[in-house]
């Protein structure tokens, strides 16, 4: 294994799970999340030499992943996001349990948010520091705080609305 392979393996091992969770939150589907993970890390692999260490490598990877997510479902050949997310989330609730139901409800609620909001909230849920989320999403920290407050409220509202049904 050469140095590039070793470095990539380290980067993949320490970031892939978080990125997969981000993609999973965005699509609500494990297969699509896997595709997005693959595309994200292919970009990482091909552009490792372009990483200038001005930010954390995880921030750089998140930025790639966010861009990948946003362009992925916009591609003409993909299904409409709501159709995709809802169908797939429904299939995930086969094994009934209270926890599974809560998780399915959460993904369903996230899928109702705007595309950008979905990505921001998944990073918030994963407890990424606000300054990092601001850097990844290209929004000033002040604006981001306001935005996050609004998204949190919206998500909570959606979740409780679905839970009542």
């Amino acid at each position: 294994m050469d140095q590039k392979d070793l470095l990539f393996k380290q980067i993949f091992d320490s970031n892939s799970k978080k990125i997969f969770h981000l993609c999973y939150g965005y699509t609500g589907d494990a297969d699509a999340a896997n595709d997005l993970l693959q595309e994200t890390f292919l970009k990482v692999w091909q552009n490792m030499d372009k990483f200038r260490q001005k930010s954390l490598i995880s921030t750089w990877i998140y930025r790639i992943a966010v861009n990948t997510c946003l362009t992925y479902l916009r591609s003409e050949k993909r299904q409409a996001k709501d159709e995709l997310t809802e169908t797939l989330i429904e299939t995930k609730t086969e094994e009934y349990s209270e926890k599974n139901e809560q998780v399915a409800l959460l993904y369903k609620s996230i899928s109702k948010l705007e595309e950008n909001d979905r990505l921001i909230i998944t990073m918030v849920l994963d407890e990424l520091p606000y300054h990092e989320i601001a850097e990844i999403s290209g929004i000033s920290e002040g604006n981001l705080r306001v935005k996050i407050h609004r998204i949190k409220q919206k998500l909570t509202e959606l979740y409780n609305q679905h839970a009542r049904l």
Partner: protein
């Protein structure tokens, strides 16, 4: 009624399983390209087998008429030229590794698609014309002593088979291949785009 903290704990309690390693991930990406390469190799393999079969007929059978020899020679030549063209195309996608040189590979993939289109359009008709002339000359001697109905059946079958290959089969093959390469190009362009923009 849940508040955001509860929702966050639900999110964090849902552990996602990642069953792929970095090596597997890169291999998976290569697999899609390898599928096209394998198909192209199988195509070449089939043509090489045809070349060997026709050449063997020319070498190991003694035909009385010059038309038969000329017919087979034309078929052998047409198959050989087409095989060389297929091999040249194959080299376009076999030399670069997408995971290492994305830009170069994407360029070659575009070139491959265009070349395939030409091969199965304009050049294909030259190939069919050559094969048809070859078979007509070949049939002069070989069908001579057979009953008329057998002669008609063989000629009819050959004509129908060639028409089937040149129309339905060719179009279906081209459509399927175009879709597959389009998808790959779309994906690779998407992957390359983010860094081109900067």
């Amino acid at each position: 009624m849940q508040d955001f903290e509860n929702i966050q704990s639900i999110w964090q309690s849902h552990s996602v399983e990642l069953k792929i390693s970095s090596e597997e991930m890169l291999d998976q990406a290569k697999k899609e390209v390898n599928a096209i390469r394998t198909k192209s190799l199988l195509n070449i393999g089939g043509m090489v087998l045809s070349f060997i079969a026709f050449s063997a007929a020319l070498l190991y059978f003694n035909f009385d008429s010059w038309t038969t020899n000329l017919g087979i020679e034309i078929v052998v030549l047409a198959v050989a030229i087409y095989t060389i063209l297929l091999y040249r195309e194959h080299r376009l996608i076999s030399r670069n590794d997408f995971t290492e040189h994305p830009g170069a590979f994407l360029g070659k993939l575009h070139e491959y698609q265009l070349s395939r289109f030409n091969l199965y359009n304009k050049l294909y008709w030259f190939y069919v014309a050559a094969i048809s002339i070859g078979f007509v000359l070949f049939f002069f001697e070989t069908l001579h002593n057979l009953d008329t109905w057998i002669q008609v059946s063989i000629i009819l079958f050959t004509v129908l088979w060639m028409v089937f290959c040149a129309t339905i089969l060719r179009k279906a093959f081209m459509k399927k291949e175009k879709e597959r390469i389009d998808l790959l190009i779309e994906k690779f362009e998407r992957i390359s785009a983010q860094f081109h923009e900067k």
